[in-house]
């Protein structure tokens, strides 16, 4: 069968299973099973077990339940309310007001978390309820969260940059530094969008808070102390050499416990509730990761992603056209495969093309991360959407609509990055050479 026909059939099957209300993890694994059995005489059971085991027994992934647990403990304190109370008077004149908390919160959290789903889950747990309570638009609250959650992949530390560095033998340090400005550019773009949206949609914003005198505003800053302590503690533990980026997540749990204890909300029932809730959320994500891992490994065996990448290579495209083709390839495939796996599966084919076209590999790493970020928010396979569905109960397809403007902004960011490569390359050049 033609690979493209085969892919289309698989996609149709995926939509059909999903429509019947089959769990997403089960649907992805089923797709892996069908892809394998239909094309190769290999034992699907052994491959399923190998794929799920090698995916889940992972040190990097342990940061996920830690961050989720941290968020769940904080959710049961007054931390979010305090934070929003402290920030409200300062943001009163900025169009979009507290919606910026999602964007800025995710950007700050990105400096701790290397994963997009963890960023989304933690910040969402803290902010979504408060924003809703204060009358902000759900569409914007969810959209900003889904979009800015992906910044976790761009600003160091970043799991995908490590994966890319290892596969292409680039320096992790350089890639990390290269990700900083593009990450901040995304933050700026998202905040800009929030401002424009708020100006155009005044009727959908909650009524303005009264403007407070400066002294009162400053005294309200005290309520930000726990948040500041948490951020400084977690980031500080990395830079002081007390914890690796993965270990910092556990530091977050202990700091959250300390905050909760200080606030008097820590007792056995709340701790138990937080722990069980975090266990379930982490299990939900891990289950989908396991299903997606089986699909990815099956795809590796069928060779379809490689074939498609080779097909793109066969045209001998110019630099700009190659980038465009690869972007489209990653966006389309990113709807159905998890972005990081996609990079892993196709590096061997794509890197020679990219090198031959004279593209800088550090720059391309940042570009790839941006494209993978887009894959995080496109249904039906997009991990930020899964996290948000579990937080808000909205369907991933509707969430995909909410996040569409942010997807467009990321496309704009990719264009800017292509037009001005120095957005990524200036900082590493200045710092390391």
């Amino acid at each position: 069968m033609e690979p493209t026909t085969f892919m289309l059939l698989l996609v149709a099957l995926l939509f059909a299973i999903l429509a019947c209300g089959v769990w997403i993890a089960v649907a992805l694994a089923t797709l892996g099973f069908v892809a394998l059995v239909a094309s190769l005489p290999l034992p699907p059971g052994a491959i399923l077990a190998t794929a799920m085991w090698q995916q889940l027994n992972s040190w990097d992934l342990t940061a996920l339940p830690m961050f989720i647990l941290m968020g769940d403990i904080l959710f049961r304190t007054k931390l979010s309310e305090d934070m929003f109370e402290g920030l409200t008077p300062w943001l009163a004149r900025l169009p979009g007001r507290l919606l910026h908390v999602n964007v800025v919160g995710c950007t700050i959290f990105a400096a701790v978390s290397g994963s997009s789903a963890a960023t989304c889950a933690t910040i969402g747990r803290i902010s979504l309820g408060e924003l809703k309570k204060r009358g902000y638009s759900d569409v914007m609250a969810i959209g900003t969260l889904a979009g800015s959650g992906t910044i976790g992949l761009m600003i160091p530390p970043s799991i995908i940059l490590i994966v890319y560095a290892t596969a292409t033998e680039q320096s992790v340090a350089r890639l990390f530094i290269a990700g900083v400005i593009p990450g901040l550019m995304l933050t700026a773009l998202f905040m800009g969008y929030v401002i424009v949206w708020a100006l155009l949609n005044r009727h959908r914003m909650p009524p303005p808070e009264p403007v407070m005198p400066l002294r009162q505003r400053i005294s309200k800053l005290r309520r930000l102390a726990p948040v500041v302590l948490l951020i400084v503690g977690v980031i500080g533990s990395i830079y002081a050499g007390f914890a690796s980026a993965t270990e910092a997540a556990a530091v977050g749990v202990f700091l959250a416990l300390a905050i909760s204890w200080r606030a008097g909300t820590l007792n056995l029932p709340t701790f138990r509730a937080a722990l069980i809730s975090a266990t379930k959320t982490s299990c939900m994500i891990a289950f989908i990761l396991a299903g997606a891992a089986f699909l990815t490994t099956s795809m590796g065996f069928t060779g379809i992603p490689r074939m498609l990448a080779e097909w793109i290579g066969s045209f001998g495209l110019s630099q700009a056209m190659l980038l465009l083709a690869l972007t489209v390839f990653f966006i389309v495939m990113g709807c159905f495969l998890d972005g990081i796996s996609l990079v892993v599966l196709t590096t061997s084919i794509i890197m020679p093309l990219v090198t031959a076209a004279g593209i800088d590999l550090i720059w391309f790493g940042i570009f790839i991360v941006l494209v993978v970020e887009m894959a995080q928010i496109t249904p039906p396979v997009g991990f930020n959407l899964y996290v948000l569905q579990s937080l808000t109960g909205r369907d991933i397809f509707r969430l995909g609509l909410y996040t569409a403007p942010f997807f467009a902004l990321m496309c704009l960011a990719a264009l800017l990055l292509a037009l001005f490569p120095d957005i990524a390359l200036w900082l590493p050049r200045t710092m390391l050479e």
Binding site: V22, I24, A46, D138, F242, A243, A290, T392
Partner: protein, 185 residues
């Protein structure tokens, strides 16, 4: 029967939570040791050099075990996500039928997973596979935990299937709908 099953799911969930707590504690211990060493060093005393051996490997195994042990409990509380948009738009009769089919399919898939992962664990046991690091962890332990979790999930799917056949809706539909109304936050 009902109580026995619920106890089983709860046991899986709590074992999973325990794994997560153990990861947090091991990492916490390591971080505290580093802080302690920094204090010793600042006082010009020799560092303790305490390390939690094979922390990364053991934590990875605990995470794999934790992820699967909680599967059944997570299903029963309606926290595994799926697309219910279309199912919800259907008349109750058809909806019950499709729900039952989805659950039966889930049981089939989870049963296959149990068999596959169980076989994988068995092979690790037969060949005495151990982790490559300093602490030699027999790989059959975390893998058997995963197989047990998958088996629990199979039971939970079958459990919900019988409930749906009897009552027309899975028991977690209420929880799923509560989330869907955005009540939880």
């Amino acid at each position: 029967m009902r109580r026995a099953l619920d106890l089983l799911y709860a046991a899986g969930l709590w074992l999973s939570a325990l794994c997560i707590l153990v990861i947090a504690s091991l990492v916490g211990l390591q971080v505290v040791a580093r802080i302690w060493d920094a204090i010793l060093q600042a006082l010009d005393l020799p560092r303790s050099g305490f390390v939690v051996l094979s922390l990364a490997e053991i934590s990875g195994y605990l995470f794999a075990a934790a992820s699967f042990l909680a599967l059944a409990g997570t299903l029963k509380s309606g926290a595994h996500i799926r697309v219910t948009m279309l199912v919800n738009a259907l008349p109750q009769r058809v909806r019950a039928l499709i729900e039952a089919a989805a659950l039966a399919f889930g049981a089939l898939a989870a049963g296959f997973g149990t068999w596959a992962i169980g076989g994988y664990a068995l092979e690790s046991w037969r060949f005495g596979e151990v982790s490559p690091g300093l602490v030699q962890v027999p790989l059959v332990w975390p893998q058997a935990a995963m197989a047990a979790g998958a088996a629990l999930l199979t039971i939970a799917f079958l459990d919900e299937l019988t409930i749906t056949v009897r009552t027309g809706r899975p028991s977690f539909r209420a929880a799923e709908d509560a989330v869907a109304l955005g009540r939880e936050g």
